[in-house]
Subunit: 105 residues, 2 copies
């Protein structure tokens, strides 16, 4: 078993979001992104099979999708997206996000 | 994209933990477990390949492992375990946990 606390292991940066690789294995990749208010992970996609989950641990913002789609992103929100489907995140307050990609890319 | 808020979608139960299947696909299975203080997911394992992540969204407790192993479990904690490795959770306060299993079982 391997344990890590996201609040201790990662903080914020002023220039752009702060990224921490939490775990990488043949099964899944887990990444923590911390956003200052106003920062964003721009809408992107990869043309491969697989899915990604985005979990908001803290803060408020919006999930972004194709054609300027926007969905609220608040603590406790889980978004599931195909890796091949455009997805992104924009923070309105400081926001902590946990992303799990399976299979890992 | 599919979005769900765990605080809205799942609550607690007095008899035992309350389980919500958040997502199931060929890539991963995502389950939310809510524990009242004192409730637990007993130590268990499955003799198959794959890994599981346990993320504490809220509350305090302990991660359980083989031979009475115990690690603190607090908001922001991520535990990674082989599916084949004994793992469990015990809540000291009301606790919200998000579990991701890849590949799904």
């Amino acid at each position: 078993m391997k344990r890590l606390n996201l609040y201790e292991a990662n903080d914020f940066a002023e220039k752009t979001f702060k990224k921490l690789l939490v775990h990488d294995s043949p099964y899944f990749k887990i990444i923590n992104f911390n956003f200052r208010a106003g920062q964003e992970l721009p809408v992107h996609s990869h043309d491969i099979d697989g899915q990604v989950s985005l979990v908001v641990l803290e803060g408020e913002g919006e999930f972004l999708g194709q054609d300027n789609q926007s969905l609220p992103a608040r603590a406790g929100d889980v978004l599931i997206s195909e890796i091949a489907e455009p997805h992104g995140v924009r923070a309105k307050t400081d926001l902590r996000l946990l992303v799990t990609i399976a299979p890992p890319i």
